[in-house]
Symmetry: C2
Amino acid sequence: MRLIIIGLGNVGANFVKLLKDRQADLTREHHLDMAVVGVADNGGYAFCDKGLNPETIISVKQKYGTVASYPNYGAPKASITKAIEDVKADIVVDMTPTNIVNGEPGISNIKSALLSGKHVVTTNKGPLALAYKELVNLATEKHLLFKFSGTVGGATPVIDFAQKCLIGNPVTKIEGILNGTTNFILTKMFEERIQMIEALKEAQKLGYAEEDPSYDIDAIDPACKLVILANAILGKKARLQDVEREGITKVTLDDILEASKQGLSVKLICTASNELLQVKPKPIKKDDPLCVDGVLNAVSFYTKLGGTFTLIGRGAGGMEAASSALRDIINIGLTTREGH
Amino acid sequence: MRLIIIGLGNVGANFVKLLKDRQADLTREHHLDMAVVGVADNGGYAFCDKGLNPETIISVKQKYGTVASYPNYGAPKASITKAIEDVKADIVVDMTPTNIVNGEPGISNIKSALLSGKHVVTTNKGPLALAYKELVNLATEKHLLFKFSGTVGGATPVIDFAQKCLIGNPVTKIEGILNGTTNFILTKMFEERIQMIEALKEAQKLGYAEEDPSYDIDAIDPACKLVILANAILGKKARLQDVEREGITKVTLDDILEASKQGLSVKLICTASNELLQVKPKPIKKDDPLCVDGVLNAVSFYTKLGGTFTLIGRGAGGMEAASSALRDIINIGLTTREGH
């Protein structure tokens, strides 16, 4: 499996590290050989047909700030689109940051990859929140695989669960806590009897809140994830703008304490059903399996035959998203091998 | 897909009903045609090469107590083993009751099926708790599929989750609440401040406790399930007798109230790891995702890369186990089709 990795931020850097650490296991357990033949970041790219050294990628990035400085194989200021198209590879792994204004550069990377005959794995929510249908259709048309496990739930295999484990048992509704930062903030407000703004500061101090807190506290991040789940699992054709969205900025300590008296917790709940596509703070029962605290994520799948299943795990983190991307790559490796 | 169903108790009867209700969907969604060509119970069997009518199976069973009275196709006192061997079918669905003394008639049914070239789906824990390795090896040797989703977690796809969704991310430890009856009893003891024996009576009144309560309260049932999980997911070669097992009969209301003061709940916890294979009442944190109440089941998978994932769902019920068996059958249908 020849990989091109685009983006070497928190997720991308962890992914390269993971590949290095797990390479021998992957060969032994799944008979899959992985080679990073190209890697790109803001400063340019590096390419080597025989494979780049993951350790060198990491050290060059740390030392020079860009893989364009990779000895002998680096190309500063080169066009990444051209690299995606020209380099011989099986999978393009897009790990560029989420952009919810126009989905770039993710959308262009994914399109270039598919148009040049490469499977795609992405951890970037932007392209899927804005152009899900277009991208999935393009992949189908080109008979290529397009996987995005790392966009929802961190390492928790939320999409895989619905697609692989609920076969024959249709999902009728999805309810989830899909943003660890706001869940941490709401949990802290209750535990320490503080207002939202103070809890937010704590989250920022611990590195849980992103640079621009509005992405979390205005519920943009969970709304993107909800669009992806609704499309992938319920077959909707939704975009980010279709989500009825309310963040946590109006939730007061009083609201939380009042709910608690009735055995309820205020949580930022994402709901997708036939009728609804909504992110909104809501009181839920404390003994509901969905009611998880701290940075945990939880998703409940309401099904036609087997009742409700809830899946819980850590929802964020660079290594978590990277491990989901690795799972996608293994799945592509196994699927394409079966096909031959 | 031609099916032979053995056993028409709670699970088997629900399974036939489910097949009838979902037949059209299965054809439409998965292009799978299902026909019940044989069905057996304690009184004999019925067989028809062109397929039996699910509605007639249910009504004959209700009216006469055995499918041997099925008009024209019934055969009372006939050998079920011979039927399994002789009838032309793709899958034998074993839904006989769990027997932990010698695993019969499940073990013989499964062996006959595999030896005569048929895939097997079972919801019977006995054969797997006593002869897992032998049966799995026989299936592998014969290049046949052997699935048993319905033996653990009711409708909750616990085994599928670990096998299909955690690829590339090895499970290092499993911890679970795998018996709804004892979980209901422990929950009631706390909620109503009553002793075990009173809570057990309530469980029996509601139909949650099995005929012989020892199967649940002495932790035989969860120990069987733990053996299956440990073997299927951790690659152990365990049998029921290898489980260190302690039931809930010694748990007092005092134990539960004392734990609660420290934010803990006493739960019957199943643990499988490199070092441990144990079912034992233990206090766990109330905010641990594993800490579910009532008849819910929960399983936490500790993984090498992505932390811990917890899966929660209703763990028991005839329709729940039946729906897991149906999922297994669909999976066999899809897998064997791909192979051709």
